[in-house]
Symmetry: C2
Subunit: 491 residues, 2 copies
């Protein structure tokens, strides 16, 4: 049972020593070419072979006319060939000695009876040659530590602890630009497609044993092996948080899932209960899924549900407080001592209850250091939410100074720049000094370079909507409870 | 009753011929200075006066020592002076002949008994001099048509039909960078603060009569005049959609609202019912509020609930379908004829049911023109959702080509560029040719310049999360019904 993760079929697919592409061509607008170019662009250091029936050169590579003609059996075969040809190509590869494949080609169980027949042929071939494969109808995978990305979209972002297994290839590849922008740290992302051979249960087992994986995301359209899934999920959730998005819960979603990956779906309410039993957190939207993965990857878990909200803006602070009221979190109730320290630090217009509302202070250290430190040190606070992190670091604010520049002294822009750079690091240090989780929101989260710097340097997730940042913190707290529950159950 | 909107107090505050700032100084990091610089930076063409007790020059302006010393009575006074001084300053301005003010200064009903006492003094002064004012505890306003923005954050984005009245000043100013990024078209945005004199009901009446306003957003922490609000809202909603975010619905939210704007809140369920009665759509998060305003401003209303989903990605398409299943929309059921036209156009791996899933086609005109045109023309479709709008126009995809460039022929990058620019316009034209509303989603909506171009040129709102795009379309449909209901009631 405790095989090393390096012996699993998924590891061997995701860490090939050599890759052979079939379906890459000199047309840039084809799936096979994209897979090839993206693999090259990711810095893959293994051997690359291209098989093409006619062209002798493909994207700069000398192409081989067939698998049989290759100088060695490639470690991994990546296929984007016509649907009917796949069984035969797999058989050729099997004969040559190849044991791993990614079948990007679609048109099987998700389409019609002819497709189902072809899937059976594939089943027979891979059994004969003991081939393990991802797909069909998938986009392969991203493995950052092996510098390989077979999907259609490049990723130049951060390597980290987030693993993701998805019935949808698009969610794997189209989430990459978002991940890059929001500085999500990616470990291994897998497109499962129709799960002809390797499925989500295999992924759960693999991610559990993988030492580089700290949090697991799932996009599900149905679950083919519910009992195995439940066992694997509970074992995984005992040590790593798992967040799932499920799209097959309505009649409309279920029909779409069937024609997408041939999935057999379960009504939403039933799946919600099942995922809860499995120790899995369910996200409501695809964006929430990514946001929660980001929070889990970057922040420690809260030891309790008591949240302090620090804001320089009454409205967003109130929205956060209201969202806490709708959640499993509670607003921390400050002791007399903490209240007094806050009151002494705040201006008269500020509020020392929770949310702690700065309102406005021209002394930047109030918001950038003093208030954060009081909250970080308070025993009655388990977690900190911040609105307006680095709001002074706003490029917009600088722009305002600049455009009135002809009217104002020249040193002013420099004053702003100094102010900007002074504040961010101090605030991050003060906020995180306690080891408590910190999540932030800023309506201009994506645009503002100052805020982006905080995201990158400070490891603090920053969301656009105040309400969504509270939901992410709630997810952290709910996972703390899930893990306790699983541990209690085992004891 | 049918006074022109130009005679209302709000119009006169938002369209001043001259403005006097009290509280601006040579310190850039002060609220008064920000209000001054932002007004100048917005291109305000009226007269600007600065009153400062000591300095003779403020941000390049010759400052006057008092209101009495001004050469004329300014049309509008903008105050950021100490809390206790405001009543006296308003009296001086009243004597000088000024009748309109924005009181940014805070520290009144939202703080303590002393603050409430000061508010009463203000009430007496403004009654004596017939002064109408915004605030206290507000950030003033943005009026695009008059080139004035008194908030702390600049806006260089698009002028348009969105009006917004908010108990929170932060939501007015901090939503501006988001609005700029997402190309929201702004008319007039008003920060109401404590509503000492002008309140949300006044705003509803004003926005109804304002010919430049097409959709109205509200951020509410409580409603001081519920019966007047209901009447004003119903009259407004009969001709313009109104979307509200309410943050005072939980005990936590209500407490925070009280210390923010002195609001008296109502439990969430009660407020939800009340807003429904008023014909107002309630958003769940601050981001949803802005997203819905964007959709209303850019798109026509659907004539019915039947949605067609067009996607090049199975997963996001399924998420959209599932969200339709949870909404008041329905998935359009295609006639045999439409199905046949779709099937003939799609590749074998595609799906001609709803969602229409392209899967993959190297012929760009399939997704970029043929499928959109079939759906736009179909009688059984009231509205179109698109996932992967301009996905071929992705800079990322171009990047992929570029980084493998040393291996591939040099003409490839040009091929991609040609492909990119060819597609977007054609697709927009095909989608919108029917006059049906179109809303799109792209996980990389913000990052991709190609997608951003579609947003700007095509007037099509593009959201990051597929689920949120469906919610926005549902809001359009729900407003269609609200308007019918109000009309029926009147008939």
């Amino acid at each position: 049972m405790s095989r090393s993760y390096t012996e699993s079929a998924l590891f061997r697919i995701l860490n090939p020593q050599s890759v052979c592409f079939m379906g890459a061509s000199n047309r840039i607008n084809s799936m096979g070419t994209m897979a090839l170019l993206n693999t090259l662009g990711s810095g893959y250091r293994g051997k690359v072979y291209v098989v093409h029936p006619k062209d002798r050169t493909v994207q700069g590579f000398s192409a081989y006319s067939s698998i049989a003609a290759l100088p060695e059996a490639p470690d991994l075969l990546i296929l984007v060939v016509p649907t009917v040809v796949v069984p035969q190509v797999l058989a050729e590869a099997g004969k040559r000695g190849t044991r791993r494949a990614v079948v990007i080609t679609a048109g099987y169980n998700e389409v019609d009876e002819a497709g189902k027949e072809l899937q059976k042929q594939i089943d027979e071939v891979v059994e004969e040659y003991r081939i393990r494969y991802l797909g069909p109808n998938c986009l392969g995978f991203v493995n950052r530590s092996h510098c390989i990305n077979t999907t259609t979209i490049p990723f130049d972002g951060r390597s980290g602890g987030i693993a993701f297994a998805s019935h949808s290839g698009s969610y794997v590849c189209q989430a990459l630009p978002y991940a890059e922008e929001m500085d999500l740290g990616i470990a291994e992302w897998i497109s499962l497609g129709n799960e002809g051979n390797l499925d989500v249960v295999d992924s759960l087992d693999y991610f559990r044993r993988h030492p580089g994986v700290r949090v697991v995301g799932l996009y599900l359209e149905g679950i083919r092996r519910p009992e195995a899934f439940r066992k694997a999920a509970l074992r995984l959730a005992a040590s790593k948080p798992v967040v799932a998005l499920y799209s097959g819960g309505t009649r409309e979603g279920a029909r779409s899932a069937a024609s997408h990956t041939g999935a057999v779906s379960t009504p939403g309410a039933v799946m919600a209960g099942f995922l809860r039993q499995c120790g899995i957190l369910q996200a409501e939207t695809s964006l929430q899924l990514l946001q929660w993965l980001n929070a889990f990857e970057r922040q420690p878990l809260p030891k309790g549900p008591r949240v302090a909200i620090l804001t320089n803006s009454g409205g967003p602070g109130t929205s956060m407080a209201d969202q806490v009221g709708k959640s499993e979190l509670v607003l921390a109730s400050f002791s007399g001592e903490v209240k007094e320290r806050l009151s002494k630090t705040l201006p008269r217009t500020g509020s020392a209850s929770n949310p702690v509302d700065l309102s406005f202070a021209s002394d930047l250290s109030v918001y950038g250091e003093k208030l954060p430190r009081i909250l970080a040190q308070a025993d009655e606070v388990d977690a900190i939410m911040v609105y307006g992190l680095a709001v002074y670091a706003s490029e917009l604010w600088k722009r305002m100074g600049r455009r009135a520049m002809k009217e104002i002294p020249l040193e002013t822009e420099e004053m702003v720049t100094d102010m900007l750079s002074a504040q961010a690091d101090t605030m991050i240090q003060a906020l995180t000094s306690s080891g408590k989780p910190v999540i932030a929101a800023n309506l201009d989260a994506r645009m503002d370079p100052g805020v982006r710097r905080v995201m990158v340097q400070g490891n603090i997730p920053v969301y656009t909507a105040p309400e969504e940042s509270v939901r992410a913190m709630e997810a952290l707290w709910r996972y703390t409870r899930i893990r306790e529950r699983i541990e209690d159950h085992r004891a």
